[in-house]
Symmetry: C3
Subunit: 143 residues, 3 copies
């Protein structure tokens, strides 16, 4: 191919209202269409350490429930040996859950949109109880 | 450098015969050679939510055994509080194990192949018992 | 944009002195400035299976303590069912902790540096007790 590839970047703000998984593949696809992306890779980057990213099933809401419950149980609030307590009981679990999931995802783009599988959805995983405005950087490289 | 970089993309199908780790760095390297890739980055993306990716040691098979056993124990089948049961007892553990490992990996390419360390191998991590045809998207960006 | 993007690559060696989290965002930013990177994506890749990468809070050292403690407890040394023992009691836990965290990170670059959030720092997570020289590949794609 002799066409010159290009890079584009934007930020997306996701308003959260407590812990849980917030889907946003649609917003990424909308941006890719706006900039006329055809083929390449999209990088999705979460600029926080108490919220993270994950790709999970988009069909049965019970999957999201069980996934949240798993992370609640593996890194519970008020774990007696935690030293980092001053930002609230949900802060240290939030950091651990972020480390166990993803802060950046790189997803191929083809046919003008994300090349996700049929059952895949990109989620912002909010680990804190208080509402937050979470900033995600979107980057496209390709044609 | 004044040379224009390029992007290339393909898909790879990996046939699985039950849970476990299936190495496929060789297939990625073969594709990179086919397209004449020299230097850049390769993105490897798994289009599923009950199989995932991981980079692990390629030397002692006991490492893969212990790794599988760890994930079996951390998210066991028939966990009493699971709600998502209708796709079988191995489905919800598969989603959790996928969330804990990787869905996308970006690996530098140099000298015409993946710049993996001596002991690193890329694995598809199958989390379900029934055979599946798993689709992985490969993307190259570079020279 | 009609400007042609470019790719650049280097390696970074991080000397570790036992288990723990070693910050190195500063070294990545320094390299980005050296090569005159303005906008794009940086890929950071760890060439090992007993050390890994993670992005975590850079403010309270207690966060790093609790994070290390969490990984010590979730995959403890001398777990009775481990088969991979010949490289020492800290080797199999190291592989598991690597699988649970990251081997590659892709971070957007804007304004000439990493587009990290205010509280984010990139760490090499050393999982072994003996000092090691860990090699990280840095890749930049963009303008």
């Amino acid at each position: 191919m002799t066409e010159t590839p290009r890079h584009a970047q934007t930020t997306l703000t996701i308003e959260t209202r407590g812990t849980g998984l917030y889907p946003f593949s649609g917003s990424v696809d909308r941006w890719l269409r706006e900039i006329g992306a055809r083929m390449g890779v999209a990088t999705i980057f979460c600029r926080h350490t108490s919220a993270s990213l994950t790709i999970q099933e988009n069909a049965d809401p019970a999957v999201l429930h069980d996934l949240s419950e798993f992370f609640d149980r593996i890194a519970p609030e008020n774990t007696p040996w935690f030293r980092h307590m001053q930002e609230g009981p949900d802060d240290m679990p939030a950091h651990i859950r972020s480390a166990l999931t993803d802060v950046s995802l790189t997803v191929p783009v083809s046919g003008g949109g994300l090349a996700l599988g049929t059952w895949q959805e990109i989620y912002l995983f909010e680990h804190r109880r208080i509402p937050h405005a979470r900033v995600v950087v979107l980057h496209f490289a390709g044609y």
